[in-house]
Protein backbone atom coordinates (compact mmCIF):
# COMPACT_ATOMS: atom_id res chain seq x y z
CA UNK A 1 0.00 0.00 0.00
CA UNK A 2 1.27 3.44 -0.86
CA UNK A 3 -0.04 6.07 1.52
CA UNK A 4 -0.50 9.68 0.60
CA UNK A 5 1.90 12.06 2.27
CA UNK A 6 -0.78 14.47 3.46
CA UNK A 7 -2.67 11.74 5.25
CA UNK A 8 0.47 10.57 7.01
CA UNK A 9 1.29 14.04 8.26
CA UNK A 10 -2.20 14.68 9.60
CA UNK A 11 -2.39 11.35 11.43
CA UNK A 12 1.00 11.73 13.02
CA UNK A 13 0.69 15.29 14.18
CA UNK A 14 -2.04 14.31 16.61
CA UNK A 15 0.44 12.20 18.56
CA UNK A 16 3.38 14.60 18.42
CA UNK A 17 5.16 13.53 15.27
CA UNK A 18 5.49 16.13 12.54
CA UNK A 19 6.58 14.29 9.43
CA UNK A 20 8.23 15.74 6.36
CA UNK A 21 9.27 12.30 5.12
CA UNK A 22 9.07 12.20 1.35
CA UNK A 23 11.38 9.39 0.33
CA UNK A 24 9.58 6.10 -0.01
CA UNK A 25 10.63 3.18 2.14
CA UNK A 26 11.48 -0.23 0.73
CA UNK A 27 11.92 -2.86 3.40
CA UNK A 28 11.41 -6.44 4.32
CA UNK A 29 12.01 -8.69 7.31
CA UNK A 30 13.26 -12.23 6.93
CA UNK A 31 12.53 -14.49 3.99
CA UNK A 32 8.76 -14.22 3.95
CA UNK A 33 8.39 -10.81 2.47
CA UNK A 34 6.94 -8.93 -0.41
CA UNK A 35 8.50 -5.52 -0.20
CA UNK A 36 6.86 -2.52 -1.75
CA UNK A 37 7.77 1.12 -1.94
CA UNK A 38 5.85 2.94 0.74
CA UNK A 39 5.61 6.50 1.88
CA UNK A 40 4.78 6.96 5.52
CA UNK A 41 5.87 5.86 8.95
CA UNK A 42 5.67 2.07 8.50
CA UNK A 43 4.20 -0.56 10.82
CA UNK A 44 7.08 -0.50 13.27
CA UNK A 45 5.31 -2.27 16.09
CA UNK A 46 4.98 -5.47 14.09
CA UNK A 47 8.45 -5.56 12.55
CA UNK A 48 11.25 -7.67 14.02
CA UNK A 49 14.03 -5.10 14.03
CA UNK A 50 16.95 -7.51 13.83
CA UNK A 51 15.59 -8.97 10.61
CA UNK A 52 14.75 -5.65 9.03
CA UNK A 53 16.57 -4.89 5.77
CA UNK A 54 16.17 -2.42 2.95
CA UNK A 55 16.27 1.35 2.54
CA UNK A 56 13.96 3.08 4.97
CA UNK A 57 13.34 5.74 7.59
CA UNK A 58 10.50 4.67 9.87
CA UNK A 59 8.76 6.51 12.68
CA UNK A 60 6.04 5.71 15.16
CA UNK A 61 4.38 7.63 17.98
CA UNK A 62 2.59 5.93 20.85
CA UNK A 63 1.54 7.53 24.13
CA UNK A 64 4.45 9.69 25.17
CA UNK A 65 7.02 7.83 23.12
CA UNK A 66 8.43 8.35 19.66
CA UNK A 67 10.34 5.55 17.93
CA UNK A 68 12.60 6.21 14.95
CA UNK A 69 14.34 3.49 12.95
CA UNK A 70 16.78 3.86 10.08
CA UNK A 71 17.90 1.21 7.61
CA UNK A 72 21.04 -0.88 8.25
CA UNK A 73 23.34 0.96 5.84
CA UNK A 74 21.87 4.43 6.22
CA UNK A 75 20.66 4.58 2.61
CA UNK A 76 17.57 6.61 3.53
CA UNK A 77 18.24 9.57 5.75
CA UNK A 78 16.30 10.27 8.94
CA UNK A 79 16.76 13.62 10.64
CA UNK A 80 14.83 14.76 13.68
CA UNK A 81 14.43 17.68 16.03
CA UNK A 82 12.74 17.68 19.44
CA UNK A 83 10.55 20.60 20.46
CA UNK A 84 10.07 21.25 24.17
CA UNK A 85 6.31 21.00 23.66
CA UNK A 86 6.65 17.31 22.88
CA UNK A 87 6.61 17.58 19.13
CA UNK A 88 9.26 15.70 17.17
CA UNK A 89 9.86 16.89 13.61
CA UNK A 90 11.25 14.29 11.24
CA UNK A 91 12.47 14.51 7.66
CA UNK A 92 14.55 12.75 5.04
CA UNK A 93 15.97 16.10 4.01
CA UNK A 94 17.79 18.47 6.33
CA UNK A 95 16.44 21.35 4.30
CA UNK A 96 12.84 20.40 5.16
CA UNK A 97 13.57 20.84 8.86
CA UNK A 98 15.42 24.11 8.21
CA UNK A 99 12.40 25.36 6.22
CA UNK A 100 10.18 24.45 9.17
CA UNK A 101 12.27 26.81 11.28
CA UNK A 102 14.40 24.25 13.09
CA UNK A 103 17.86 25.67 13.89
CA UNK A 104 20.83 23.59 12.71
CA UNK A 105 22.11 22.82 16.19
CA UNK A 106 18.80 21.18 17.11
CA UNK A 107 18.85 18.77 14.15
CA UNK A 108 20.12 15.25 14.71
CA UNK A 109 20.21 12.05 12.70
CA UNK A 110 19.27 8.51 13.57
CA UNK A 111 22.48 6.53 12.90
CA UNK A 112 22.33 3.75 10.32
CA UNK A 113 21.07 0.47 11.72
CA UNK A 114 19.80 2.13 14.89
CA UNK A 115 16.51 2.55 16.68
CA UNK A 116 16.05 5.76 18.65
CA UNK A 117 13.30 5.96 21.28
CA UNK A 118 12.36 9.30 22.77
CA UNK A 119 10.21 9.19 25.89
CA UNK A 120 8.83 12.60 26.78
CA UNK A 121 7.26 11.47 30.03
CA UNK A 122 10.52 10.12 31.41
CA UNK A 123 12.60 12.61 29.41
CA UNK A 124 14.88 9.87 28.17
CA UNK A 125 16.38 9.04 24.81
CA UNK A 126 17.67 5.55 24.05
CA UNK A 127 19.64 4.79 20.91
CA UNK A 128 20.21 1.11 20.21
CA UNK A 129 21.92 -0.63 17.35
CA UNK A 130 19.98 -3.46 15.74
CA UNK A 131 22.36 -4.09 12.83
CA UNK A 132 26.13 -4.34 12.66
CA UNK A 133 27.85 -4.50 9.29
CA UNK A 134 29.90 -7.70 9.55
CA UNK A 135 32.57 -8.09 6.90
CA UNK A 136 33.32 -11.75 6.24
CA UNK A 137 37.02 -11.61 7.02
CA UNK A 138 36.94 -14.53 9.43
CA UNK A 139 35.47 -16.90 6.86
CA UNK A 140 37.43 -19.97 5.81
CA UNK A 141 38.31 -21.17 2.34
CA UNK A 142 36.25 -19.66 -0.45
CA UNK A 143 36.83 -18.46 -4.00
CA UNK A 144 35.78 -15.50 -6.08
CA UNK A 145 34.14 -17.89 -8.55
CA UNK A 146 31.94 -19.42 -5.84
CA UNK A 147 31.17 -16.04 -4.34
CA UNK A 148 30.30 -14.68 -7.77
CA UNK A 149 27.92 -17.55 -8.43
CA UNK A 150 26.21 -16.98 -5.09
CA UNK A 151 25.89 -13.24 -5.73
CA UNK A 152 24.43 -13.95 -9.14
CA UNK A 153 21.83 -16.16 -7.46
CA UNK A 154 20.92 -13.39 -5.04
CA UNK A 155 20.67 -10.85 -7.85
CA UNK A 156 18.45 -13.11 -9.95
CA UNK A 157 16.18 -13.69 -6.95
CA UNK A 158 15.95 -9.98 -6.32
CA UNK A 159 15.24 -9.11 -9.93
CA UNK A 160 12.47 -11.70 -9.94
CA UNK A 161 10.92 -9.97 -6.91
CA UNK A 162 11.45 -6.52 -8.36
CA UNK A 163 9.86 -7.44 -11.67
CA UNK A 164 6.89 -9.01 -9.84
CA UNK A 165 6.43 -5.91 -7.75
CA UNK A 166 7.21 -3.18 -10.25
CA UNK A 167 6.33 -4.65 -13.64
CA UNK A 168 3.94 -1.78 -14.33
CA UNK A 169 6.56 0.89 -13.73
CA UNK A 170 8.85 2.56 -16.20
CA UNK A 171 12.37 1.57 -15.32
CA UNK A 172 15.01 4.26 -15.67
CA UNK A 173 18.45 2.82 -15.47
CA UNK A 174 21.58 4.82 -14.65
CA UNK A 175 24.18 3.44 -17.03
CA UNK A 176 27.68 4.82 -16.61
CA UNK A 177 29.49 2.53 -19.00
CA UNK A 178 31.23 0.70 -16.17
CA UNK A 179 30.90 -2.81 -14.80
CA UNK A 180 28.59 -2.21 -11.85
CA UNK A 181 25.81 -0.44 -13.70
CA UNK A 182 26.43 -2.67 -16.72
CA UNK A 183 25.59 -5.75 -14.71
CA UNK A 184 22.43 -4.15 -13.35
CA UNK A 185 21.52 -3.17 -16.92
CA UNK A 186 22.03 -6.72 -18.17
CA UNK A 187 19.72 -8.13 -15.50
CA UNK A 188 17.18 -5.35 -15.88
CA UNK A 189 17.02 -6.07 -19.61
CA UNK A 190 16.02 -9.64 -18.82
CA UNK A 191 13.41 -8.81 -16.20
CA UNK A 192 11.79 -5.55 -17.31
CA UNK A 193 10.10 -4.57 -20.56
CA UNK A 194 9.67 -0.80 -20.19
CA UNK A 195 13.30 0.08 -19.66
CA UNK A 196 15.37 3.11 -20.68
CA UNK A 197 19.01 3.68 -19.86
CA UNK A 198 20.24 7.20 -19.02
CA UNK A 199 23.86 8.08 -19.57
CA UNK A 200 25.56 11.28 -18.49
CA UNK A 201 28.12 12.89 -20.77
CA UNK A 202 30.03 16.13 -20.25
CA UNK A 203 30.42 17.95 -23.53
CA UNK A 204 31.30 21.60 -23.70
CA UNK A 205 30.56 21.85 -27.42
CA UNK A 206 27.71 19.40 -27.47
CA UNK A 207 29.34 17.10 -29.97
CA UNK A 208 31.97 15.11 -28.08
CA UNK A 209 30.99 11.86 -26.43
CA UNK A 210 33.12 10.83 -23.47
CA UNK A 211 34.84 7.47 -23.19
CA UNK A 212 32.42 6.42 -20.45
CA UNK A 213 29.37 7.48 -22.44
CA UNK A 214 30.69 5.74 -25.55
CA UNK A 215 30.99 2.55 -23.53
CA UNK A 216 27.48 3.01 -22.12
CA UNK A 217 26.01 3.53 -25.61
CA UNK A 218 27.81 0.48 -26.90
CA UNK A 219 26.64 -1.65 -23.98
CA UNK A 220 23.05 -0.44 -24.31
CA UNK A 221 23.12 -1.47 -27.98
CA UNK A 222 24.54 -4.87 -27.05
CA UNK A 223 21.80 -5.37 -24.47
CA UNK A 224 19.13 -3.96 -26.75
CA UNK A 225 18.15 -1.27 -24.25
CA UNK A 226 16.93 2.16 -25.46
CA UNK A 227 19.36 4.76 -24.23
CA UNK A 228 19.10 8.50 -23.64
CA UNK A 229 22.38 10.42 -23.69
CA UNK A 230 22.19 13.29 -21.21
CA UNK A 231 24.73 15.76 -22.48
CA UNK A 232 25.77 18.50 -20.07
CA UNK A 233 27.71 21.65 -20.82
CA UNK A 234 29.80 23.65 -18.38
CA UNK A 235 26.75 25.83 -17.69
CA UNK A 236 24.56 22.78 -17.04
CA UNK A 237 27.09 21.41 -14.57
CA UNK A 238 27.31 24.70 -12.70
CA UNK A 239 23.53 25.04 -12.64
CA UNK A 240 23.24 21.64 -10.98
CA UNK A 241 25.55 22.47 -8.07
CA UNK A 242 22.94 24.03 -5.80
CA UNK A 243 20.55 21.09 -5.89
CA UNK A 244 23.44 18.65 -5.61
CA UNK A 245 24.47 20.36 -2.37
CA UNK A 246 21.01 20.73 -0.88
CA UNK A 247 19.48 17.39 -1.82
CA UNK A 248 22.74 15.47 -1.82
CA UNK A 249 22.96 16.72 1.79
CA UNK A 250 26.72 17.02 1.82
CA UNK A 251 29.42 19.53 0.89
CA UNK A 252 32.33 17.12 0.46
CA UNK A 253 33.55 17.19 -3.15
CA UNK A 254 33.47 13.43 -3.80
CA UNK A 255 29.79 13.37 -2.94
CA UNK A 256 28.85 16.71 -4.51
CA UNK A 257 30.48 15.82 -7.83
CA UNK A 258 28.58 12.51 -8.01
CA UNK A 259 25.40 14.27 -6.93
CA UNK A 260 25.80 16.67 -9.88
CA UNK A 261 25.78 13.74 -12.32
CA UNK A 262 22.64 12.38 -10.67
CA UNK A 263 20.98 15.79 -10.60
CA UNK A 264 21.52 16.10 -14.35
CA UNK A 265 20.21 12.57 -14.94
CA UNK A 266 17.27 13.16 -12.58
CA UNK A 267 16.28 16.33 -14.42
CA UNK A 268 16.31 14.50 -17.74
CA UNK A 269 14.24 11.64 -16.34
CA UNK A 270 11.71 13.98 -14.75
CA UNK A 271 11.49 15.92 -18.03
CA UNK A 272 10.86 12.72 -19.97
CA UNK A 273 8.13 11.35 -17.71
CA UNK A 274 5.22 13.55 -18.89
CA UNK A 275 6.20 12.92 -22.51
CA UNK A 276 5.87 9.18 -21.95
CA UNK A 277 2.16 9.86 -21.63
CA UNK A 278 0.83 6.74 -19.97
CA UNK A 279 1.15 8.06 -16.43
CA UNK A 280 3.03 5.03 -15.14
CA UNK A 281 5.35 5.97 -12.28
CA UNK A 282 9.06 5.53 -12.80
CA UNK A 283 11.54 3.55 -10.80
CA UNK A 284 15.24 4.34 -11.05
CA UNK A 285 17.73 1.47 -10.77
CA UNK A 286 21.39 2.27 -10.18
CA UNK A 287 24.64 0.36 -9.96
CA UNK A 288 25.73 2.18 -6.83
CA UNK A 289 27.07 0.71 -3.59
CA UNK A 290 29.25 -2.04 -5.10
CA UNK A 291 32.23 0.32 -4.92
CA UNK A 292 31.69 0.69 -1.18
CA UNK A 293 31.24 -3.04 -0.61
CA UNK A 294 34.55 -3.88 -2.27
CA UNK A 295 36.39 -0.58 -1.62
CA UNK A 296 36.89 0.11 -5.30
CA UNK A 297 37.79 3.79 -5.16
CA UNK A 298 40.98 5.65 -5.87
CA UNK A 299 42.00 9.31 -5.64
CA UNK A 300 42.31 11.56 -8.71
CA UNK A 301 45.19 13.96 -9.32
CA UNK A 302 44.43 17.19 -11.13
CA UNK A 303 47.05 19.88 -11.65
CA UNK A 304 49.30 18.27 -9.10
CA UNK A 305 46.68 18.19 -6.37
CA UNK A 306 44.99 15.02 -5.08
CA UNK A 307 41.18 14.92 -4.96
CA UNK A 308 38.77 12.31 -3.64
CA UNK A 309 41.45 11.31 -1.15
CA UNK A 310 40.99 8.15 0.85
CA UNK A 311 42.08 7.46 4.41
CA UNK A 312 45.39 5.61 4.63
CA UNK A 313 44.12 2.44 6.23
CA UNK A 314 44.23 -1.21 5.23
CA UNK A 315 41.65 -2.45 2.76
CA UNK A 316 39.41 -4.08 5.36
CA UNK A 317 39.32 -0.85 7.38
CA UNK A 318 38.70 1.08 4.17
CA UNK A 319 35.72 -1.16 3.35
CA UNK A 320 34.33 -0.57 6.84
CA UNK A 321 34.92 3.18 6.54
CA UNK A 322 33.27 3.42 3.12
CA UNK A 323 30.29 1.37 4.26
CA UNK A 324 30.00 3.46 7.40
CA UNK A 325 30.30 6.53 5.18
CA UNK A 326 27.01 5.66 3.47
CA UNK A 327 25.49 7.07 6.64
CA UNK A 328 26.12 10.63 5.45
CA UNK A 329 25.54 12.14 2.03
CA UNK A 330 22.52 11.49 -0.15
CA UNK A 331 23.90 11.73 -3.65
CA UNK A 332 21.62 9.08 -5.13
CA UNK A 333 18.33 8.60 -3.27
CA UNK A 334 18.11 12.21 -2.12
CA UNK A 335 18.99 13.79 -5.44
CA UNK A 336 16.65 11.63 -7.53
CA UNK A 337 14.00 11.87 -4.82
CA UNK A 338 13.98 15.64 -5.21
CA UNK A 339 12.64 15.01 -8.72
CA UNK A 340 9.94 12.70 -7.37
CA UNK A 341 11.81 9.62 -8.57
CA UNK A 342 11.92 6.46 -6.52
CA UNK A 343 15.28 4.72 -6.50
CA UNK A 344 16.31 1.17 -5.74
CA UNK A 345 19.94 0.20 -5.59
CA UNK A 346 20.00 -3.54 -6.30
CA UNK A 347 23.45 -4.13 -4.80
CA UNK A 348 22.11 -2.76 -1.54
CA UNK A 349 19.41 -5.42 -1.54
CA UNK A 350 22.07 -8.11 -1.16
CA UNK A 351 24.12 -6.16 1.33
CA UNK A 352 24.51 -9.13 3.66
CA UNK A 353 26.09 -11.22 0.89
CA UNK A 354 28.36 -8.44 -0.33
CA UNK A 355 29.48 -7.54 3.18
CA UNK A 356 30.26 -11.22 3.69
CA UNK A 357 32.88 -11.18 0.93
CA UNK A 358 36.26 -11.65 2.59
CA UNK A 359 38.49 -8.64 1.98
CA UNK A 360 41.31 -10.88 0.77
CA UNK A 361 39.16 -11.81 -2.23
CA UNK A 362 38.68 -8.22 -3.35
CA UNK A 363 42.11 -6.77 -2.61
CA UNK A 364 43.86 -7.20 -5.96
CA UNK A 365 43.94 -4.67 -8.75
CA UNK A 366 41.75 -6.83 -10.95
CA UNK A 367 39.52 -8.35 -8.24
CA UNK A 368 36.52 -6.33 -9.32
CA UNK A 369 36.78 -7.55 -12.91
CA UNK A 370 37.26 -11.15 -11.81
CA UNK A 371 34.30 -10.91 -9.46
CA UNK A 372 32.13 -9.23 -12.09
CA UNK A 373 33.03 -11.89 -14.64
CA UNK A 374 32.17 -14.64 -12.18
CA UNK A 375 28.82 -12.95 -11.53
CA UNK A 376 27.91 -12.07 -15.09
CA UNK A 377 30.43 -13.37 -17.59
CA UNK A 378 27.56 -14.77 -19.65
CA UNK A 379 25.53 -11.54 -19.56
CA UNK A 380 28.03 -8.89 -20.56
CA UNK A 381 30.29 -8.53 -23.60
CA UNK A 382 33.97 -9.34 -23.09
CA UNK A 383 35.25 -5.86 -23.85
CA UNK A 384 33.57 -4.33 -20.81
CA UNK A 385 35.62 -6.44 -18.42
CA UNK A 386 38.83 -5.07 -19.92
CA UNK A 387 37.88 -1.38 -19.63
CA UNK A 388 39.87 0.89 -17.34
CA UNK A 389 37.66 2.08 -14.53
CA UNK A 390 36.62 5.70 -14.94
CA UNK A 391 34.79 7.88 -12.46
CA UNK A 392 31.44 9.02 -13.84
CA UNK A 393 32.20 12.63 -12.95
CA UNK A 394 35.48 12.47 -14.91
CA UNK A 395 34.32 10.43 -17.89
CA UNK A 396 37.62 9.38 -19.46
CA UNK A 397 40.82 7.52 -18.60
CA UNK A 398 42.93 9.80 -20.84
CA UNK A 399 42.89 12.88 -18.66
CA UNK A 400 40.73 14.85 -16.28
CA UNK A 401 37.62 16.30 -17.86
CA UNK A 402 34.11 17.12 -16.77
CA UNK A 403 32.81 18.07 -13.36
CA UNK A 404 36.05 18.14 -11.38
CA UNK A 405 37.88 20.66 -13.62
CA UNK A 406 34.70 22.63 -14.37
CA UNK A 407 34.13 23.25 -10.68
CA UNK A 408 37.75 23.83 -9.75
CA UNK A 409 38.49 26.12 -12.68
CA UNK A 410 35.44 28.23 -11.82
CA UNK A 411 36.56 28.61 -8.21
CA UNK A 412 34.11 26.08 -6.80
CA UNK A 413 36.66 24.20 -4.75
CA UNK A 414 36.18 22.36 -1.45
CA UNK A 415 36.10 25.59 0.56
CA UNK A 416 33.52 27.11 -1.80
CA UNK A 417 31.32 24.02 -1.58
CA UNK A 418 31.51 24.11 2.21
CA UNK A 419 30.66 27.80 2.34
CA UNK A 420 27.81 27.49 -0.17
CA UNK A 421 26.37 24.55 1.75
CA UNK A 422 26.40 26.65 4.92
CA UNK A 423 24.62 29.49 3.17
CA UNK A 424 22.00 27.18 1.68
CA UNK A 425 21.16 25.84 5.14
CA UNK A 426 21.51 29.14 6.99
CA UNK A 427 24.37 27.88 9.14
CA UNK A 428 26.42 30.76 10.57
CA UNK A 429 29.11 28.80 12.30
CA UNK A 430 31.59 27.01 10.05
CA UNK A 431 32.78 24.79 12.89
CA UNK A 432 29.26 23.40 13.13
CA UNK A 433 29.82 21.56 9.86
CA UNK A 434 32.62 19.57 11.46
CA UNK A 435 30.13 18.24 13.94
CA UNK A 436 27.36 17.73 11.38
CA UNK A 437 29.33 15.07 9.53
CA UNK A 438 32.26 13.40 11.22
CA UNK A 439 33.95 10.22 10.03
CA UNK A 440 31.24 9.76 7.41
CA UNK A 441 28.42 9.89 9.93
CA UNK A 442 25.78 12.58 10.54
CA UNK A 443 25.58 13.93 14.08
CA UNK A 444 23.39 11.90 16.39
CA UNK A 445 21.95 12.49 19.84
CA UNK A 446 23.32 10.40 22.71
CA UNK A 447 20.78 11.45 25.36
CA UNK A 448 17.64 13.48 25.90
CA UNK A 449 18.57 17.08 25.15
CA UNK A 450 18.10 19.61 27.91
CA UNK A 451 19.10 22.96 26.44
CA UNK A 452 16.08 24.90 25.17
CA UNK A 453 16.75 27.33 22.33
CA UNK A 454 14.80 30.54 21.90
CA UNK A 455 12.72 28.82 19.26
CA UNK A 456 11.75 26.06 21.66
CA UNK A 457 13.80 23.28 20.09
CA UNK A 458 15.99 21.20 22.35
CA UNK A 459 19.71 20.76 21.82
CA UNK A 460 22.38 18.71 23.57
Amino acid sequence: MIRGQTESVRTLEAVGLESSLRIRNFYWAGDSFRPSLQLGPGPLGVLPLKLLRGQFALAEAADTRITLVRDPLGINKLFFAIHHSGRVSIANYLIDLVRRGVPGDAIYSVPAGHCVEVDFHRRTLASSRYFTAQIGDTRGECSLADEGAAIRGHLEAWFTRLSDQFHSRKIFLCLSGGLDSGLIAALAARYFRDLTAYTYCYSQNGDEVSEDATSALRLARALNIPVRLVTASRRDVLDAVHNALVYGQDWRDFNVHCAIVNELLGRAMADDLPRAGDGAPALVLTGDLMNEFVADYSPVVYRGQEYYSLPKVDRAALRRALIRGLNAGDREIGVFGRHGLDVIQPYGLLADALLDLPTRLVSDEDSKQVLARSIAGDLLPDWIFARTKVRAQIGTSRGITGILPVLLDSGRDAAWLRSTFRQAFGIDNDAFLSSLIRGGVYRSLPMFPTRVGTDGFLAH
Binding site: T132, R252, L310, A317, R443
Partner: protein, 96 residues
Protein backbone atom coordinates in the same frame (compact mmCIF):
# COMPACT_ATOMS: atom_id res chain seq x y z
CA UNK B 1 43.54 -7.01 27.45
CA UNK B 2 42.34 -3.79 29.05
CA UNK B 3 44.32 -0.61 28.43
CA UNK B 4 44.66 2.34 30.78
CA UNK B 5 43.36 5.73 29.64
CA UNK B 6 46.86 7.17 29.98
CA UNK B 7 48.51 4.56 27.78
CA UNK B 8 45.77 5.00 25.20
CA UNK B 9 46.10 8.79 25.28
CA UNK B 10 49.86 8.54 24.78
CA UNK B 11 49.43 6.23 21.81
CA UNK B 12 46.77 8.44 20.25
CA UNK B 13 48.88 11.55 20.76
CA UNK B 14 51.82 9.83 19.05
CA UNK B 15 49.58 8.73 16.19
CA UNK B 16 48.17 12.20 15.62
CA UNK B 17 51.54 13.91 15.87
CA UNK B 18 53.05 11.51 13.35
CA UNK B 19 50.18 11.16 10.90
CA UNK B 20 48.95 14.74 10.90
CA UNK B 21 52.24 16.57 11.43
CA UNK B 22 51.48 18.34 14.67
CA UNK B 23 54.53 20.28 15.77
CA UNK B 24 56.20 19.17 19.00
CA UNK B 25 56.10 22.73 20.31
CA UNK B 26 52.46 23.47 19.46
CA UNK B 27 51.10 24.69 22.82
CA UNK B 28 47.48 24.33 21.70
CA UNK B 29 47.79 20.59 21.14
CA UNK B 30 46.84 19.15 24.50
CA UNK B 31 44.91 16.10 25.57
CA UNK B 32 41.89 18.36 26.07
CA UNK B 33 42.21 20.20 22.76
CA UNK B 34 39.28 19.83 20.37
CA UNK B 35 40.83 17.77 17.59
CA UNK B 36 38.45 18.96 14.87
CA UNK B 37 37.73 22.57 15.82
CA UNK B 38 41.45 22.92 16.47
CA UNK B 39 42.23 21.71 12.95
CA UNK B 40 44.45 18.84 14.10
CA UNK B 41 42.38 16.12 12.43
CA UNK B 42 40.23 16.43 9.30
CA UNK B 43 37.45 14.12 8.15
CA UNK B 44 39.75 11.67 6.39
CA UNK B 45 42.14 11.77 9.29
CA UNK B 46 39.27 10.98 11.60
CA UNK B 47 38.64 7.73 9.74
CA UNK B 48 42.32 6.87 10.12
CA UNK B 49 42.17 7.72 13.81
CA UNK B 50 39.15 5.48 14.34
CA UNK B 51 40.81 2.63 12.40
CA UNK B 52 43.94 3.10 14.52
CA UNK B 53 41.98 2.99 17.78
CA UNK B 54 39.97 -0.05 16.69
CA UNK B 55 42.96 -2.07 15.52
CA UNK B 56 45.39 -1.06 18.27
CA UNK B 57 43.02 -1.50 21.20
CA UNK B 58 40.79 -4.22 19.73
CA UNK B 59 37.55 -2.30 20.07
CA UNK B 60 34.77 -1.43 17.69
CA UNK B 61 33.48 2.12 17.82
CA UNK B 62 29.76 2.67 17.40
CA UNK B 63 28.38 5.58 15.36
CA UNK B 64 26.89 7.04 18.53
CA UNK B 65 30.34 7.22 20.05
CA UNK B 66 31.90 8.77 16.97
CA UNK B 67 29.54 11.68 17.25
CA UNK B 68 29.76 12.12 21.00
CA UNK B 69 31.56 15.06 22.55
CA UNK B 70 33.89 12.53 24.18
CA UNK B 71 35.28 11.61 20.80
CA UNK B 72 36.62 15.08 20.11
CA UNK B 73 39.60 15.14 22.48
CA UNK B 74 42.43 12.76 23.23
CA UNK B 75 41.29 12.51 26.84
CA UNK B 76 37.73 11.76 25.79
CA UNK B 77 38.72 9.17 23.20
CA UNK B 78 41.03 7.50 25.70
CA UNK B 79 38.27 7.28 28.26
CA UNK B 80 35.84 5.74 25.77
CA UNK B 81 38.40 3.31 24.34
CA UNK B 82 39.61 2.26 27.80
CA UNK B 83 36.01 1.50 28.76
CA UNK B 84 35.48 -0.44 25.53
CA UNK B 85 38.70 -2.41 25.86
CA UNK B 86 37.63 -3.57 29.30
CA UNK B 87 34.33 -4.98 28.03
CA UNK B 88 34.02 -8.70 27.35
CA UNK B 89 33.47 -9.35 23.66
CA UNK B 90 34.25 -5.75 22.76
CA UNK B 91 31.64 -5.87 20.07
CA UNK B 92 30.85 -2.18 20.06
CA UNK B 93 30.84 0.72 22.43
CA UNK B 94 27.84 2.81 23.19
CA UNK B 95 27.98 6.48 24.05
CA UNK B 96 25.98 6.04 27.20
Amino acid sequence: MAFSPTSIAEAIERFIRTEFQVADNDPTFTWDAHLFDGGFVDSIGFVQLVAFAESTFDVKVDEDVLMSEDFTTINGISKVVAFGSAQPGRSSMSAR
